[in-house]
Amino acid sequence: MIILIINNVVILAGIGGFLAMLLVIADYFLANYGDCNIDINQGKKKFTVKGGSSLLSSLAEKMVFIPSACGGKGTCGLCKVKLLKEIGPVLPTEKPYLDKDELKNGVRLSCQIKVKQDIFIHIPEALFSIKKFRGKVERIIDYTYDIKGVYIKLDEPKNIEFKAGQYVQLESKKYGKVKQVVSRAYSMSSPPFEEDKIELIIRLVPDGIMTNYVHKQLHQGDDISFTGPYGEFFIRDSKADMIFVAGGSGMAPFKSILADLEKQQSKRRIVYLFGARTEKDLFLVDEMRHFEDTLADFTFIPVLSQADEDSDWKGKKGYIPPILKDYVKDPDNTEGYLCGSPGLLAVTEKEMHKLGIKNVYYDSFG
């Protein structure tokens, strides 16, 4: 009997072991891409990495940071790089983000392609100035029940240079059951002239990896790191009227922009429509009223979509798109700046175009 059992175990282990060995050998030969060279902008920067990882993470390892708001999930389409030498077919995960010209010119999503051979790429020079910053949480403010403001004091480098409206990519650490380290985009809400610290305004997303980390794990004094600055969402230099539209944490870039405009003593006409559900979702109202006093021509208009029946809310009710027309004087001389959820942006942009506003800029948090 014992012999039979041992016999069985040995045979089973033998078959299992043989298959496992086969897999290990296959893995060694198949998944080993050896060392690969990456060449950026025709020799401007060159290094060797171990093959097998995504181009995005291989570059980040060598301190070259490509915008990647979704953290490499293939959903933001921001991590484009131009390949100077083809490395294989475009993947279905990339297609939705590439237009005809880009496909023709060898533009690819760097988070989707793996480094399996020597790679030659071209990226905008400006990306070389993106750095990794280390700092400490200086303080955390509760703006609403689900929105927090996080001040980060910089340790290394000590100063950051950016344009109001740009964003950084915050890096999380492992916590609880989450074994993944992720990076997510957050707009800076502090003005550029406060060079030694930044503020981020972060809304809790149920089950969100980063937002739960920030809301529940992060405390004053904790170390934290981010890369940046990224993005093209900043005020265009002109004399045109401006309409800002935001919802929720979309407040962040406008807080920075307004403080910057205040410092420059801007004379431009600005209307800021801020969408929220109820009064509980409003925040920084006093700060906005302060800007109404200090800026030459600024109006802040909170709009509640689900104001409580019994509340004494006297402001605007409903949704922003239908009331936009009340605030546009001369569409040809008006710029739209939108920030928040993709849904809000899509309908607002459509409405603005309908009203004849051609220059609409936005940052989608999707």
Binding site: N8, I11, I15, L22, L91
Partner: protein, 195 residues
Amino acid sequence: MEINSYVIFFAAIFTSNILLTNFLGMCSYLSVSRELESSFGLGMAVFFVLTVTSALNYIIYHYILVPLDLVYLQYIVFIIVIAAFVQLAEMVIERFSPLLYYSLGIFLPLITVNCAILGVSLFLVIRQYSFIQSVAYGAGSGIGWLFAIMMLAGIRNRVKDKYLPKGMAGAAISLLATGIMALAFIGFSGVVIIQ
């Protein structure tokens, strides 16, 4: 034993469709059949894995388990072989065809637990098929499964925006459609019998 391999191949697609007559491989069939494209991807992966694992399991059964008198270990061994093969297939595909990897890749791990795969390996032992017959049966069953899931996906696409009583939406209507399909397929079964 006498049945021609071609007959087995076609019978496995139509008259003895593994999904519609044995109702094996139901859970991925029901959960992935929402879109035609992904149904096709999963179906192709099942076809590929079924064909190869039926050959592998035939060899292991007849040249290792039978001589050593260990046929009662077949369940465990078959599952290990299937799991290992799926892993290997994933690696090979990733290396040589990233495009295929992305369209199949997410479905491959699902296949390890698709009971149609284990079912086919067990049937070919019970029915005492030869090597060629086994491969024909495996490939045929794979194509049969691909057929079934594509058809359900097509039906679900049509039913999607039609009015349905509350309790009927989702899994209920899919199961009903499967039942009706099964009836239609059983209509073929007088043509040839392979079990």
